[in-house]
Subunit: 159 residues, 2 copies
């Protein structure tokens, strides 16, 4: 099985401080969803290749929470949030903070759409409370990290 | 001690889909904060007077979650969310959904500001992902419920 290289579309909404990320995967929604909820799987793809991910806790259910670190060249970057709602194979609504900017909180919504033939479209939106914060996030090189993460997820799903 | 009648300011942000609510209380931040985190106290003031509040769970700590019902004339209205961050006497960041509209999620931030002399300013913001949703929420009579709730909180703090 060859690893596909679907395009990751990342767009800034013109009207509200939101980023929208769309990506297709050659795996059914159940499998893509599980790669987002099982911490052992999440740790194998979330983030850029050069980072090692250390999960402190990752309780992906409605009312649960998470905290993890990305470690790179001895530097640690910590992230945390809570899971507002988790609907199996359909939806995850969660919050997200990079602890380097502890007062910045994003509300994230991940929608898993069944495209048939074992394919899934994942649409992820990230809402923050200012256009400045949103645009700084986009300018900070997050796009490469997202694309690399999804390439790693392709490899995991193909494995 | 007389119950004060501070004004509740409710404003719709012109640039982003956010509602901002500001209210002063004649009590120190520690006391106003505790009335937001102790479920037995929350149940005595949150919402309009005509509603009875039934707390299913209310675990107000970073990574916790809540679900409660407002009961009025035999009708039940359920709400749930998770607590992204709770900093004692300073800050609560949480999510909020009225289960009648289960796909609508608000990101709420409550800031407790010490004004000295045993007084507190509470600024609460509620961020959603569309202006239509925000304006429908405002048009739905939430303002009366918020004002009544804060009058009840005045009474609780004075008691």
């Amino acid at each position: 099985m060859t690893t596909s290289t679907h395009e990751t579309e990342i767009t800034a909404d013109p009207d509200i401080p939101l980023v929208r990320i769309t990506r297709e995967f050659d795996a059914p929604p159940e499998k893509v969803f599980r790669a987002h909820t099982d911490p052992e799987l999440v740790a194998r793809w979330l983030g850029p290749r050069r980072h090692e991910m250390r999960v402190e806790h990752y309780d992906c259910r409605t009312g649960g929470s998470y905290r993890y670190l990305h470690v790179s060249d001895g530097n640690e970057f910590a992230f945390h949030g809570c899971f507002h709602e988790v609907r199996p194979s359909e939806l995850i609504v969660q919050t997200f903070t990079f602890e380097g900017f502890p007062d910045d909180v994003a509300l994230e919504r991940l929608v898993f759409e069944d495209l048939g033939d074992g394919r899934t479209r994942l649409t992820s939106t990230s809402l923050v409370d200012s256009f400045e914060g949103r645009d700084a996030f986009l300018a900070g090189g997050m796009e490469d990290g997202v694309r690399q993460g999804y390439e790693r997820l392709d490899e995991l799903l193909a494995g």
